[in-house]
């Protein structure tokens, strides 16, 4: 709960200012000041107690939205990292590992401030994960400034890739900075799934109209624009694009527009479960006759409690808890934290943590000293080149970076890939790729009425 810290400080000078103008209000000011200090104390909640001096110690900064609208994701990320490092007793050779939170609060400017504090006060040696693209874009410059490597960001969008390629030397600290490939590499799977269904005659849509929607963030727009292009390339017509504020929960006007435009498919994404579930439910409520592609609906454990059976027949892409290790992890996670983990945040973060452990061990083994500089050497000369890959993950067969793909991981069968699933009563059935398919793509009955 580091969140409110800086906001609170920002108010203090104003209080002093007022005091100069109205010297008689000292009592009142002291009182409101007191309340603020109270809030401050609670909000800080042990922030300072985490501060310690680094000595034979590696400090790993876990970046995530620990407060704010995506705090749910943040808590999953943190807990997965905790689990992975606890399993090795927080020990790399002779080094004690300390994990510290760097709260992005889902906002780049706050993330930047908290990042700076973590670096200057806690001596963070390496950072990892993060969820938002806008945050990544901001922190890339910070990483370059402080020369601190960053591994395995959950942020996906093209802008990170573009920025990296502008100055690969400067941004080398982000060589393996993405743990979630650019949306277009994944979104094509939906279009392929539908195109195949039409080609083999499984589906004969009334129109070839597609509506694109998404939260108004780099991620939402990046996904929406990628899949829009891919649909157009496949011969569909994109009739509208709507990007809305993250926490929006009322979609009736939008749904009416889609009904009027007779769209056969709506495709988009959101990272806020409340918002996403509302969209899916309201689509059913008004009787929208479209296939729904809801990329990321299932990313949060409790999505089905919110969306209910309105999610039937919805398409999503989500890594599956397929392997034995994955299932075991899920059980351990539930037991330890009493919440249901989602594969796309907890599972991915857990793999990221273990890959990072592998890198830290390698650094220790090669150089005998684990610091930012040496970790970056491993990053640049072993990870980026595809020499140090990770095959012990629970979600993907192999996490691999190559000079061609960086900062994205390699996306392909047997590497990083998300299957397309279709929901029925809260369970996802894999329908693509064919090799993994557990069931057939089903046309929602409400489309045939």
């Amino acid at each position: 709960m580091i969140k409110e810290r800086d906001e609170t400080w920002r108010f203090l000078p104003e209080i002093y200012l007022i005091e100069e103008v109205y010297p008689l209000e000292r009592d009142t000011l002291q009182f409101s000041g007191l309340i603020f200090l109270l809030v401050l104390t609670i909000a800080l909640g042990g922030f300072f107690s985490e501060t310690a001096v680094a000595q034979d110690k590696v400090t790993v900064g876990v970046i995530g939205p620990f407060t704010g609208p995506n705090a749910r994701v943040g808590s999953e990320i943190w807990r997965s990292y905790k689990m992975a490092f606890n399993e090795i007793d927080n020990q790399i050779g002779d080094y004690k590992v300390e994990l510290v939170k760097i709260d992005s609060e889902s906002q780049p400017e706050k993330a930047t401030r908290n990042y700076t504090q973590a670096v200057t006060r806690k001596g963070v040696d390496v950072t990892t994960f993060n969820w938002h693209s806008s945050v990544s874009v901001a922190l890339m410059d910070m990483a370059a400034k402080y020369e601190i490597p960053h591994f395995f960001g959950g942020a996906a969008t093209q802008v990170i890739l573009d920025k990296y390629h502008e100055e690969p030397e400067k941004y080398q600290y982000y060589d393996s900075g993405k743990f979630w490939p650019t949306p277009r590499k994944l979104s094509i799977a939906y279009v392929t799934t539908l195109t195949e269904a039409v080609e083999v005659g499984d589906w004969d849509p009334e129109t070839k109209n597609v509506a694109i929607y998404g939260e108004n963030t780099d991620w939402g727009r990046s996904f929406g624009n990628s899949i829009a292009e891919q649909f157009e390339d496949a011969g569909w017509e994109v009739v509208s694009k709507d990007y809305f504020e993250m926490q929006k929960t009322k979609f009736y006007p939008l749904l009416q527009k889609w009904q009027d435009k007779k769209v056969s498919v709506i495709a988009g994404t959101s990272t806020v479960p409340a918002s996403f579930a509302a969209l899916v439910k309201q689509a059913r409520e008004v009787g929208l006759k479209s296939l729904v592609i809801a990329d990321g609906l299932g990313w949060m454990g409790e999505w089905y409690d919110l969306a209910g059976d309105a999610s039937d027949y919805v398409l999503d892409q989500i890594p599956q808890w397929a392997s034995q290790e994955a299932k075991q992890f899920r059980e351990r996670f539930e037991k330890e934290w009493d919440i249901e983990p989602s594969s796309s945040s907890s599972g991915l973060a857990y793999d990221g943590a273990n890959y990072l452990i592998k890198i830290l061990r390698k650094t220790n083994q090669l150089y005998g000293e684990v610091n930012s500089e040496n970790i970056q050497k491993v990053n640049h000369y072993l990870v980026r080149t595809g020499d140090l890959t990770f095959t012990e993950g629970i979600l993907m067969k192999e996490y691999k970076y190559t000079p061609e793909t960086v900062p994205d991981p390699k996306v392909a069968k047997d590497y990083y890939i998300y299957p397309v699933i279709q929901y029925h009563e809260g369970e996802g059935t894999v329908i693509w790729p064919q090799a993994w398919a557990e069931g057939e793509f089903e046309i929602p009955p409400y489309m045939e009425e």
């Binding site: 409110e4 109270l38 504020e245 929006k248 409340a274 009787g287």
Partner: protein, 301 residues
């Protein structure tokens, strides 16, 4: 062109939305009118209503209406506690009115942070929602609406009407209005302002809590869920004029219509822009709000 059916369906969506805005904006306006407190913790009272409802409906398996009623009662009590523990002592120490608004503003911002973090510490970051209170929906002339939304708008209408009658017809309601209209006059006739302030804050918290509870299936409980209703309520309150309670339903409907039609025809990213632009234009020509000819905070006349 918009077809008749689409138009009807959009109007319906706007009316449902207006019901929510009215509920939350009424309490906000009342607190400002009676206590001169710009309450930026109003959204958190809405949030707490949602949490109470989700725990009583999904946790304790109480019937929906009981869950909403419970949210109303506990919201009222919480409001009273907040007033007595924050604003009452502050009022005892505030000699100067000029700085009261600034101080209470700071207190409400602090309160908002406190409540958000407290809820996150207790209930965690999980979205706690329900599929729906009542199954099913209606379909009339091609327009579908779920029972939840119908009941939601009905609750808003009944509560707002009952509240209006309370303010207009009962002696205590009149005392609340009297305090808003002339604080000295209220003291002169013997009204204990401390009680009126506590009651006002409690009632306002109750309205916000009801709004949060009755729309649970639309907006699951979450620590930061209060921000959007807070903004919308302020839009409405600023539009009709601070402290003007009677015109709030009209203001709420105007904002809802603009947002609904802007989302439909221009794109949903633009709806706030349109409502804000309207507010700016109105404030340029009518600085006291659309209907705010003579109604303002008690200390500003």
């Amino acid at each position: 062109m918009i077809s008749g059916q689409s138009l009807a369906s959009l109007l319906l969506a706007a009316i449902v939305r207006a019901g929510l805005y009215t509920l939350t904006a009424t309490g906000l306006s009342l607190i400002f009118g009676v206590m001169n407190v710009p309450n930026f913790a109003h959204g958190e009272l809405y949030m707490i209503g949602a949490y109470i409802a989700v725990f009583s409906f999904a946790g304790l398996n109480l019937p929906p209406l009981v869950a909403i009623l419970l949210a109303a009662i506990l919201g009222f009590i919480l409001g009273a506690i907040i007033e007595k523990s924050f604003f009452y002592p502050l009022r005892q120490r505030s000699k100067r009115r000029k700085i009261w608004i600034m101080n209470t503003f700071l207190v409400t911002v602090g309160l908002s942070l406190l409540l958000k973090n407290l809820i996150q510490a207790i209930a965690g970051t999980k979205y706690r929602g329900i599929d729906s209170y009542w199954q099913g929906g209606l379909k009339v002339a091609g327009i579908s609406i779920s029972v939840d939304r119908l009941v939601g708008v009905a609750i808003a209408a009944v509560v707002v009407l009952a509240f209006w009658l309370f303010l207009q017809k009962t002696t205590i309601g009149k005392a609340i209005r009297a305090t808003a209209q002339d604080e000295t006059g209220a003291k002169v006739v013997g009204i204990d302002l401390n009680n009126i302030h506590t009651l006002t804050f409690a009632l306002s918290a109750m309205l916000a809590s009801i709004a949060g509870a009755s729309l649970l299936s639309l907006n699951p409980a979450y620590p930061t869920m209060g921000l959007m209703p807070l903004f919308s309520s302020w839009f409405v309150v600023i539009l009709v004029g601070l402290g003007n309670i009677a015109s709030i339903p009209v203001g709420a409907l105007i904002i809802s219509l603009i947002e609904t039609f802007a989302a439909y025809s221009v794109g949903s990213g633009w709806q706030r822009l349109f409502s804000l632009a309207l507010i700016i234009i109105i404030l340029l020509f009518k600085p006291r709000g659309l209907f705010g000819s003579d109604v303002k905070g008690v200390w500003e006349r």
